[in-house]
Symmetry: none
């Protein structure tokens, strides 16, 4: 992630004008729910053993019933690479709502801001299109993590490319969002993110996973040994700090918990079943 | 703030002799109340977006009813400057009690220690006088913040000089304490502090604000461009660390919460209405 300077026109939150005119204003709530207890405990515990966090090439294992040793917590590996896990219980939510959300929010900053009103600044698709799809596309986001503003390129990839059985996901009513994370202004890939959403009684649960830094860093288009060497070397010059790891865990927990609180209502208002009756739903 | 070495005669807490002879001993409680839940959560959240914390030249906005986006939390701005906010609910307390406290405590270390018995070491007015006033005067304090001992010069300034409407403050029964914070041993200003106390049902609430480092740093008597350049350059050599920001937030929350617990009784015993009956009240 690259630290960015805010463009003057970019701003956190909805302006008075946006609150008055945005079709999404009624879903904009600048007050976040309190941090869930299990997230607070994970922050207090701090870094944990790397072996408790499977590597990204084993992420397909999320499809196996049950839980990983650490569902909420983080580790810093010997090479400085970071792995973060966050579990978010989501009553009333279905996995399909999140599949819709990841396509829908990327078209408009006003949508993106609903998700984390205290950190999300701007979003747009790299291809400039406004259709409802995300796999294979790159979302360019500007957001705070902690006190620092970052410009990030999120390249969504098919779950199968990371080892998920997509037919079985569909059969089980599960959704997995997978992406290669990188810098927006320079062609450097910095890590991976995966959000696995599966049905549970009364709703769904999201299991978020991040692998960042170390061997995950490499120049775009250089998946081989040389790219790995360049990436690791670059990372050693500016490794992720422990404080940043914690801030990223807080950020993910906050945004997922916050949106889950009103996602069913947002989906009813702007989701696939509501498009005909809500023209504003596609307004950018 | 400058790190100091404790003078041998300086000590934390009340000695056995002080406990036996000090007129304030019955108000000395070395046990602090637990950190309020909202402060714990702010510590767990960590740094937040700078845009959520108004700059010092907008501090007069505290007089507007309502709350700021973050009432308890901190940010580190792109230039490394720090902004900290702490909200302290204070049942039974009135704003006038704090106005009295800021003048009264500065005359004697035994009074100052009541406020934060685990961090406050010594206090005295730079002008050596012992009268009850603080605006326009400089309080020289020696206190721990975290594990480090600091000697700080706190130059109290009129609220109007920071943009407050003093007539309206008086009419609303509100009190604002404003000060320029600096090093005690060298003529360097490091930041600003503001405590806004307003009545709420059942008592009062204090909204503390700190702006430290970065552009807030400058040599005493050099408010212009050159002073700003010198200040920013000096600050880059020794910026405030994230750990110190958290420690300062804890320190403020502890001292305000602790004193608020017995300030009404202290005020009854030594405040303006009690001077005649409590000769010891003015003893240094």
């Amino acid at each position: 992630m690259s630290r960015a300077h805010a463009h003057p026109a970019l701003h956190l939150g909805f302006t008075a004008n946006e609150l008055a005119s945005s079709p999404y204003a009624r879903f904009y709530n600048p007050d976040l729910a309190p941090l869930p207890e299990h997230v607070k405990e994970a922050l207090q515990i701090g870094g944990q053993a790397c072996e408790l966090f499977p590597p990204v090439d084993k992420v397909g294992g999320l499809q196996t019933p049950g839980y990983w040793p650490v569902e909420t917590g983080y580790t810093v590996a010997p090479d400085g690479a970071v792995r973060i896990s966050v579990l978010t219980p989501m009553p009333r939510v279905t996995p399909a709502m999140w599949d819709w959300w990841f396509a829908w929010h990327g078209c408009a900053s006003e949508r993106y801001k609903l998700w984390h009103p205290r950190a999300h600044v701007a979003v747009g698709w790299a291809d400039g299109r406004a259709d409802l799809a995300y796999v294979g596309r790159t979302s360019m986001v500007t957001e705070y993590v902690g006190s620092s503003l970052f410009e990030v390129a999120i390249r969504f990839v098919p779950p199968a490319s990371l080892g998920f059985d997509e037919q079985r996901l569909a059969a089980d009513g599960e959704v997995v969002i997978c992406a290669r994370v990188g810098l927006a202004k320079v062609p450097i890939l910095t890590g991976w993110l995966v959000h696995h959403i599966r049905p549970v009684p009364g709703g769904a649960e999201m299991r978020s996973r991040f692998w960042l830094g170390g061997d995950n860093v490499r120049p775009v288009g250089m998946p081989g040994v040389l790219g790995g060497f360049i990436g690791r070397t670059a990372y050693r010059l500016q490794p992720i700090k422990a404080e940043q790891v914690r801030e990223l865990m807080v950020h993910d927990a906050q945004e997922m918990n916050h949106l889950a609180g009103f996602l069913p209502d947002l989906y009813a208002a702007f989701g696939p079943g509501a498009v005909a009756s809500a023209e504003g739903g596609l307004r950018v």
